[in-house]
Amino acid sequence: MMVEQTRPGEMIRLAVELRGVTREYGPGQARVRALDGVHLGFPAGSWTAVMGPSGSGKSTLLHCAAGLEKVSGGRVLLLGRDITSAPDGVLTVLRRRTVGFIFQSFNLIGSLSAEQNVALPLRLAGSRVSRKDVRDVLAAVGLGDRLAHRPRELSGGQQQRVAIARAMVTRPEVLFADEPTGALDSTSARTVLGLMRGLVDAGGQTIVMVTHDPAAAASADAVVFLSDGRVVDRLVRPSVGAVADRLARLEG
């Protein structure tokens, strides 16, 4: 698998594609250019990590790619479809069926149980919710005995596993993750990364993951490095050592 600069005639099917994407924040003098002409493609069925120093634009890149944020320039394509200026209704449907999210803060609804949280996207999409499916997914992430627990009654690692189960149950084609292991200890982190690997290998899903952790990045198929809103480097089939090395050079 490769992360390619998109060229005309490219043959690899891309799940997400950024064409010259620019994103600026703030007015006049205080203007910040968080993304600066980013050309990037994320191949379908692969797992790509995005790394870079703090403030380099990683989260912004993820939000723009997922259609959560409007871009200032350039185009964003999701599964070959231009979503650069898609209306809210289209994006809502995408969020229901096509894309999923996992974040550092686990983003579960506090008043709902683990089981209800997992079933929520299906219920919002109006599809019939099979309790068995929901329970199977929770069992698969090792939470078969915590169905009725509220998020505040779960540990951080368990909450993140609920969030992953929620992303698994709708089988989204693209999963966006921003520091999914950022708040977890190394054992919980390994469990979560293992689950994500399963999604890509068994389910053929695409994952775009922002991380600061070289070990997490090494679980991915490829790594791209951002600095000051530009793609500055890339690694294919990364090892922990090589990632840490590049990162040290960037930050140094």
């Binding site: 959560l68 969020r95 506090g110 996207p121 909450q159 921003d178």
Partner: protein, 647 residues
């Protein structure tokens, strides 16, 4: 969606408690007021009553119906106000949760549906409580209307299914209407906001708030300015307008006004670390402090503005009467006794005015139409020459000299009702009918319920006049001490004898009491709602701050310090709300003062001390107690469990 809203409703039940109480109160009041009004409409005037008694009964029914009508409007308005501010507040507070729903694929209509079903649940709970509470409220309301003298004793309403159903539906409609604006704002929440704390969540002064706030402030300022140059009645209308619109303006602009005012409190607060923290919180949590202050602003402005206006009017009535009456003493007695007054040594002139039980029927013109009307009250028999010597204002048309034989004079109470000089009316004296010619029109006065007609004494049979209640204005002979004459009159047993000043003051006090009877009901109601709104805001704010308090405690504050910090904040907000409300009331009364100078030569502003002395400690007590309670319950759990909890 209903199941989801059931869960969120249960989760946020404390946030909704205030709105439920408001809807329940509204439904209960609506139902009981409508039931009492229906009973009034059905009420038969008992046969065999005199014309005067019938008119009094009909007047009191009309008065009660008006009062109930105002109650209904006020209850509906306040319920709507509280429900909508509750939802605005909870939506602001739950932005992250709503954004999460959007992130999980929730569409805008779905979010709208979620909030509407929450409102429906809230409305149902409030309505059910209200319909049940409305039954005892009906009895309580008719009892208090009887006690305040608006309804005759023995009046009793009965239950009516249609009215109860109607009130229940109104409760649901109010809940749904109240949520609309908040739901529209909720639907505008963007999914990205789940990941960030900034963005539109921080915005309190919305465009519509700016627009309506500044425009009503401009109208208020303009009215205060115009009020400086208007007549008494105009000034009163303006003062009422200033109270209402000014209250709306400052409560809309409270997110700006409260932090500004808190800067003035700065030196006091900064004297302690906790106070400094509290002041920083006041400035930072604009939405929270504004929603506590707003109901207080409205309450204080309305209560002080309205009672101040009416009491000032009462004071002016007293002053005016003092100027009208040219006498040394005023005596109250029956006609028979009054006839003896002139014989008492030292009395030079005694003008006896007996209120006689006759009726006057005639046609008068108002607004281009003529009406036929019969009046039974305020018809006074006088001796024209002594009346003229003891009452200063000359008729604006005709002359009291001609008040002899079959004639009548239009007194201040009917002065602006369109009677014409030279016209005729039919009077019924005992069993006899006679036609009377209008020979004089007296100028109007400020008094509410002033005399309607003057008739010459010779028209009234002596027996009738002797039984009628009479008021006698007395001038003592030159060089005689009025006090000595008063002593002689008292010794002769001619009833109550007062100086005109005393008499005018008593008259003002009676007018004030009549105002208070009406306002006691409305103000009690307004106060109740304001208390619900304030408690609601403080409770919601407390619930919202669980995490913030936990952080403060982890940082090193003890639980009691956190409670004290919140208490300082609540007290400061209360002081600010009271002061801003007082400012509006002062603006309202400024025009009255100016009009008083023009009408009676002195700025007669009655500061309504009784409501003020009830309101100020009451407000501090309620906000303080609620703040302590909600802070204690928000800090019950160990801070660590809260600091690590994440949505």
């Amino acid at each position: 969606m209903l199941r989801l809203s059931l869960t969120t409703f249960r989760e946020h039940r404390r946030l909704f408690a205030g709105a439920i109480v408001a809807v329940a109160l509204g439904v209960a009041l609506l139902q009981s007021s409508l039931l009492v009004m229906a009973a009034i409409a059905d009420a038969k005037i008992p046969p065999g009553l005199s014309g005067q008694a019938r008119e009094r009964l009909r007047d009191s029914y009309a008065g009660a119906a008006t009062l109930l009508g105002m109650t209904v409007l006020l209850a509906a308005f306040l319920a709507l106000f509280i429900v909508s501010s509750t939802f605005a507040f909870t939506v602001a507070q739950r932005r992250r949760q709503l954004a999460l729903l959007r992130l999980a694929g929730g569409s805008r209509p779905q979010l709208l549906g979620l909030l509407l079903s929450e409102a429906l649940l809230l409305g149902t709970a409030g309505t059910a409580t209200g319909v049940l509470a409305g039954v005892p409220a009906t009895w309580a309301q008719s009892w208090s209307l009887v006690a305040l003298g608006f309804l005759p004793g023995g009046f009793s309403p009965h239950l009516d299914g249609g009215i109860m159903l109607g009130s229940a539906c109104t409760g649901l409609v109010v809940a749904l209407l109240g949520v609309l604006a908040a739901a529209r704002r909720a639907a505008a929440v963007r999914p990205l906001e789940a990941l960030r704390d900034t963005g539109r969540a921080a915005r309190v002064m919305t465009v519509s708030r700016w627009f309506f706030g500044t425009s009503s402030l401009a109208v208020t300022v303009w009215m205060v300015w115009v009020g400086q140059a208007s007549e008494v009645l105009g000034a009163i209308v303006i003062a009422l307008g200033v109270s209402v619109i000014g209250a709306v303006a400052l409560s809309l602009l409270s997110p700006l006004a409260v932090p500004l005012a808190s800067r003035l409190l700065g030196p006091v607060l900064r004297s302690s670390t906790l106070g400094e923290l509290a002041q920083a919180n006041l400035r930072d949590a604009v939405r929270r402090s504004a929603s506590t202050a707003a109901p207080l602003i409205v309450l204080v402005a309305l209560v002080l503005g309205l009672t101040g206006t009416l009491d000032s009017l009462a004071a002016m009535v007293g002053e005016e009467q003092r100027r009208i009456v040219a006498g040394d003493l005023v005596a109250d007695s029956t006609g028979a006794v009054a006839a003896r007054i002139a014989q008492v040594p030292g009395v030079a002139v005694a003008s006896v005015q007996s209120t006689v039980p006759i009726s006057v029927t005639g046609r008068h013109r108002r607004a281009g139409r003529t009406y036929r009307r019969t009046l039974y009250s305020g018809i006074v028999a006088v001796d024209p020459s002594s009346y003229r010597r003891t009452h200063r204002p000359a008729p604006r048309a005709g002359s009291l000299d001609r008040l002899h034989g079959r004639t009548i004079a239009v007194a201040p109470g009917q002065s602006e009702e369109g009677w014409r000089l030279g016209g005729t009316v039919t009077a019924r004296v005992g069993g006899q009918r006679m036609r009377l010619r209008i020979v004089a029109l007296l100028p109007p006065t400020l008094e509410n319920g002033a005399d309607n007609f003057l008739v010459p004494r010779e028209l009234i049979p002596a027996a009738v006049a002797a039984r009628a209640p009479a008021q006698t204005v007395i001038q003592v002979a030159p060089g005689t001490d009025p006090a000595a004459v008063a002593g002689r009159l008292r010794a002769a047993g001619v009833g109550t004898v007062r100086t005109p000043a005393r008499w005018a003051d008593d008259r003002a006090a009676a007018e004030e009491r009549a105002n208070m009877a009406i306002f006691a009901v409305l103000m009690g109601l307004g106060g109740l709602y304001a208390a619900v709104a304030v408690v609601n805001a403080v409770v919601i704010a407390g619930a919202e701050r669980t995490a913030e308090f936990a952080v403060a405690r982890v940082t090193g504050l003890s639980r009691s310090q956190v409670v004290r910090m919140a208490l300082i904040e609540a007290s400061a907000v209360t002081a600010i709300g009271l002061a801003l409300g007082g400012l509006v009331a002062a603006g309202a009364l400024a025009g009255i003062g100016a009009a008083g100078v023009r009408a009676v030569g002195v700025p007669l502003i009655a500061v309504p001390w009784t409501p003020l002395l009830l309101l100020v400690p009451g407000a501090f007590l309620i906000t303080g107690a609620t703040s302590v309670w909600s802070t204690l319950s928000a800090t019950r759990r160990q801070p660590v469990t809260l600091v690590t909890a994440r949505e």
